[in-house]
């Protein structure tokens, strides 16, 4: 079996890369260990509406709800509102991730990419150190797929990156361990994504309530693995649901677990090799959101692969176009927000309450973590000391840019 590119994993990053590589003329194969694209869902299913302008999805079947804004609740339940009329533009969707993923896969297939389900990657084909393809297993058949480029899109538990010599192991302080119910029989009066912070509620993370229509919502929790104990995420989520009057009559339609990397990104290219999506740790360390990065990064990866195939040059040097591309698109944001995550971890509930009190009446121009951080810095000069690492990063970044 021989292809130009073999992509391990049919999540959003894998499918978008497949699509743009195929559109650029590459012969693409996607292998997926599961039996259905997008299933089981392992996600809170929130995404920014900025994907609209990328036109990577067709129709509206993948949309469960359009959000008017977001509300962040501090430990004493002081609410900071980021609303659509205040923000004017960028809020979000709650999506059906299974349909969302299948739409992206369908468009990749339409562009000419081939998909194989029930096919697990078991290793890389290497000639000395040179990567030559993927070893795989389809039911009982072991076989080899030769390819000029291998793409690791195998998610948070990525093995392909390790096989290519990139250390993707996460420290417990860089992983959010999550679980979520999809609950029916609840009252979602308005289309707001709600976030609840607090050491007692979700240590090192938050509880979310994302409505999927009038009486259904995803209610989930993410806590930092370094602050977790066996089964703690589920225990805390059950406690939250029990105490919330809106969820009094709730019944579960679905229960799922998830894991979200909240680390700095890793290296993403080697000769004949690219790493994308959660496998590349392309997740916002504050929100845990990664879908937009999968789409944006996948497009850059696919286009870079197209160029590599045309020029028949699969070196790290050429594939570096992808690494530079994602660093420009969202890499700096991830690095900056990683610093903010570390700062926030140091803050106690009292500080969060104090910040929320001072922000609760502000009209935010944009719904972004940066906007929030700027306001905090303006209103709490004493907290500026804590924000010093951020200023250092900005300085370093400006120097890098001027070079």
């Amino acid at each position: 079996m021989e292809y130009d590119v073999v992509i391990v994993g049919s999540g959003p990053a894998g499918s978008v890369t497949a699509r743009f590589a195929a559109e650029a003329g590459a012969k693409v194969l996607v292998i997926e260990r599961r039996r259905e694209v997008g299933v089981p869902v392992l996600c809170g299913e929130g995404i920014s509406r900025k994907i609209d302008k990328w036109h990577m999805l067709e129709g509206t079947r993948w949309i469960a709800g359009r959000m008017d804004g977001a509300r962040i609740y501090s430990p004493d339940r002081t609410c900071v509102t980021l609303s659509a009329e205040r923000a004017g533009n960028e809020t979000g969707y709650v999506v059906y991730r299974d349909i969302f993923d299948q739409e992206l896969a369908r468009l990749a297939m339409k562009a000419g990419a081939k998909f194989m389900m029930n096919t697990k990657a078991t290793g890389l084909i290497k000639d000395k150190e040179k990567i030559k393809g993927v070893k795989a297993k389809h039911f009982d058949d072991d076989f080899e797929i030769k390819a000029d480029i291998v793409v690791g899109a195998d998610g948070v538990e990525s093995k392909v990156g390790q096989w290519a010599g990139i250390d993707t192991t996460l420290k417990p302080k860089d992983l959010e361990t999550c679980c979520q119910y999809t609950l029916s029989n609840i009252d979602c009066k308005d289309a707001y994504c709600d976030f609840y912070l607090g050491r007692e509620i979700a240590p090192g993370g938050y509880v979310w309530v994302f409505p999927k229509g009038k009486d259904v919502a995803n209610v989930g929790i993410g806590i930092l693995a370094s602050l977790s104990e066996s089964g703690l995420a589920k225990k805390l989520l059950d406690r939250f649901i029990e105490k919330d009057p809106r969820l009094k009559n709730a019944e579960p339609l679905r229960f799922l677990a998830g894991a979200v990397p909240v680390s700095n990104p890793v290296e993403t290219v080697r000769d004949n090799f690219i790493l994308i999506g959660d496998a590349a740790r392309h997740v916002d360390p504050i929100t845990g959101g990664g879908l937009t990065h999968c789409l944006e990064g996948g497009k850059i990866a696919g286009e870079t692969i197209g160029r590599a195939i045309k020029e028949q040059n699969f070196s790290k040097g050429l594939l570096n176009t992808y690494e530079e591309g994602w660093k420009n698109a969202f890499g700096q944001k991830i690095e900056r927000n990683y610093i903010v995550k570390e700062i926030m971890l140091d803050m106690d509930d009292k500080t969060f309450n104090m910040i929320a009190h001072s922000l609760k009446d502000i009209k935010f121009d944009e719904i972004s973590t940066l906007g929030l951080v700027k306001e905090v810095a303006k209103r709490h000069p004493t907290l500026m000391v804590k924000l010093l690492p951020l200023l250092k990063y900005r300085k370093k970044f400006k120097e890098m840019k001027s070079k």
Partner: protein
């Protein structure tokens, strides 16, 4: 006596992959849609046990 190794309860595992990503010894992998511990790589550090959101990993023999 050696410390007990980690063991996945397949009836509880929801295949989120969190334990695999934090294992410092690469001792965990996905096998048949569930997390699986390769016992001879496990160093009994219990990071995976603490990480599991639903308490699906325990010590062997428990």
């Amino acid at each position: 006596m050696a410390k007990p190794k980690a063991k996945v309860d397949e009836t509880k595992c929801l295949a989120c992959g969190g334990c695999i990503s934090v294992c410092p010894q690469d001792a965990l992998s996905m096998c048949g849609g569930k997390a699986y511990v390769t016992a001879n790589k496990c160093i009994s550090c219990a990071i995976c046990i603490k990480t599991c959101p639903v308490g699906a990993i325990g010590e062997e023999g428990c």
